[in-house]
């Protein structure tokens, strides 16, 4: 038997995590859904406009992503609670299974559940606004791009959930801001060292221009879509593996 990954055990662990957190999740889902429903219905009723329906869809997507990041940040709460951590860490489940279960709940399961909620909200909004014909157009490229971006970026918050012991969401956001500032300062400093304060114009046909275009058009998107999330999941795995009380 593979001691690191056993599908039966993974299934049991998924069931345990869903069951133990179900009541809290249900309350949160109900509260958010109710609030969004009221806001959307009121806006749609008093502004019977196609534009409003589209804007409300965007609001739903923002809440979908933010809600997912907060949910992801709380996925290892049991591990960080002083009086619960022993139970989580001594449960006969490997770090791989704990990570996979956390990812599965906060990424595919969340996307399906929250995605269905967005569909329901969009349907009600367009119905109340009297523009039901807009509904199919609400699920355009922007909608699916949001889901793709969420599935990549939620790995950042999964790492934050495994790393920080409290206020995981806020600390992850702070860490992201600090990393962004460091990258900006490093890039700016490097640019200044290379080109000085002169008004250097990068020609796309020049070697430097072609390299920059290749980096920004090919390398960075590839790193973002295919490397970032797996890399963060691997780091999260080691965080779980090395976690002590």
């Amino acid at each position: 038997m593979n001691t690191e990954l056993n599908l039966k055990r993974l299934g049991f662990f998924l069931r345990r995590q869903l069951y133990l957190n179900f009541s809290t999740m249900w309350v949160a889902i109900g509260a958010i859904l109710g609030l969004l429903l009221i806001i959307s219905a009121l806006f749609a009723y008093f502004n019977r406009d196609v534009e409003i329906v589209l804007n409300l869809r965007n609001l739903h997507l923002v809440v979908f992503m933010l809600g997912g990041y907060i949910f992801t940040s709380k996925v290892f709460d049991e591990m960080h609670a002083p009086q619960k951590s022993y139970m989580f860490l001594t449960l006969p489940v490997s770090a791989t299974e704990k990570l996979l279960a956390a990812w599965f709940i906060t990424s595919p399961v969340y996307v399906v559940v929250a995605g269905l909620m967005v569909v329901v909200l969009c349907f009600i909004t367009s119905l109340v606004a009297g523009h039901l014909e807009v509904l199919p157009h609400l699920f355009d490229e922007v909608f699916f791009n949001c889901i793709r971006v969420y599935m990549v970026t939620q790995a950042v918050f999964l790492l934050g959930a495994a790393t920080f012991r409290s206020n995981n969401f806020l600390k992850t956001v702070l860490a992201l801001i600090l990393v962004a500032m460091l990258i900006a300062a490093y890039s700016g400093g490097l640019g200044y060292l290379l080109f000085g304060s002169g008004n250097y114009n990068v020609d796309e046909s020049s070697e430097l221009g072609a390299t920059a275009k290749f980096i920004f058009d090919t390398i960075i998107p590839m790193l973002f879509w295919w490397v970032l999330a797996p890399f963060l999941l691997v780091v999260s795995y080691f965080k779980l593996k090395e976690r002590q009380v």
Binding site: N6, R9, Q83, Y86, L89, P92, V93, S94, Q244
Partner: protein, 283 residues
């Protein structure tokens, strides 16, 4: 078998807790882990259960490196800490969601233990008192049939009948494959239960002896008047009299007073250990 070899450990920014700690625990025994507050008892238990990693040295549990926390090893460990927080679900749902991870889990045994502790399986954990929750965890832990059971202050919060039920259940559950470690301050609760006494003092194992050996080599007197001074290993005031530990020169098994023994070891571990090393029968 559990083996801690040359363990060094310190909490961040603190002075070292364990320096070169060595300890071997054999199956088939109940170990009483005693020590003052801050002696390192809970840290030692956390090392054994893989919740803390040593800075150097190795802790192996049934051949597994404890810090690897392999599921195969964790299936054979059940830990009941002093303080815990249980989810607000029924006992039966807790068992359904957690029992499946332990391949040797016995529902029949659980039912028997719950009946012994007078716990209703349909009750919600959030409605139980601290003592009842502890009894449930003890019942669940025993039903997992884990080969290593770690109990940190198990009798805290238990009422008097529950303490005797606890002793009865623990004694009955021991077999030649199991190791039970009980860490406690309430030494009287462990009398007639433990097989070995392990005393931890300032991060060091200062005493590790079998109860049979202790009762054979030491005697516990509650009035030391008339006892020659050279036979007294430790003395303390008790209700206006001198009580203490004396050399059991006759070699007849004596009743072990764990509280006196612990106090004696804390004050004079070297003298008591020396007596064990130099012990000779004098008929």
């Amino acid at each position: 078998m559990i083996a801690l070899k040359d363990i060094h450990f310190r909490y961040k920014k603190n002075k070292p807790l364990f320096e070169n700690l060595n300890l071997t625990l054999e199956p088939g025994f109940i170990y009483g882990l005693l020590g003052k507050n801050g002696a390192g008892k809970s840290s030692l238990l956390k090392h054994i259960s893989g919740l803390l990693y040593p800075d150097s040295g190795q802790c192996t549990v049934f051949g597994f490196d404890a810090s690897a926390r392999k599921p195969a090893m964790l299936e054979d460990i059940y830990m009941i800490p002093e303080e815990f927080n249980l989810p607000p679900i029924s006992l039966s749902n807790y068992v359904k969601t957690n029992g499946v991870f332990y391949s040797k889990f016995s529902n029949n045994q659980l039912q028997a233990y719950l009946a012994e502790f007078e716990l209703d399986e349909s009750a919600k954990l959030s409605t139980l008192s601290y003592g009842q929750k502890k009894k449930f965890l003890i019942a669940f832990g025993l039903a997992t049939n884990a080969r290593l059971l770690i109990l940190d202050e198990p009798t805290n919060g238990l009422d008097i009948p529950s303490k005797s039920q606890f002793r009865k259940i623990m004694a009955a559950s021991l077999d030649e494959e199991k190791i039970i470690i009980i860490s406690t301050h309430q030494v009287r609760d462990l009398e007639n239960l433990i097989d070995n006494v392990v005393v931890l003092e300032k991060g060091n194992i200062v005493f590790n002896r079998n109860m049979g050996e202790i009762s054979e080599k030491l005697a516990f007197e509650y009035n030391l008047s008339g006892v020659p001074a050279e036979e007294i290993l430790y003395a303390e005031d008790m209700h206006g009299r001198k009580a203490g530990i004396v050399k059991n020169i006759a070699g007849h098994d004596a009743r072990v007073d764990l509280e006196l023994l612990f106090n004696g070891i804390v004050k004079n571990a070297a003298g008591i250990n020396e007596h064990f090393a130099n012990y000779k029968y004098e008929y």
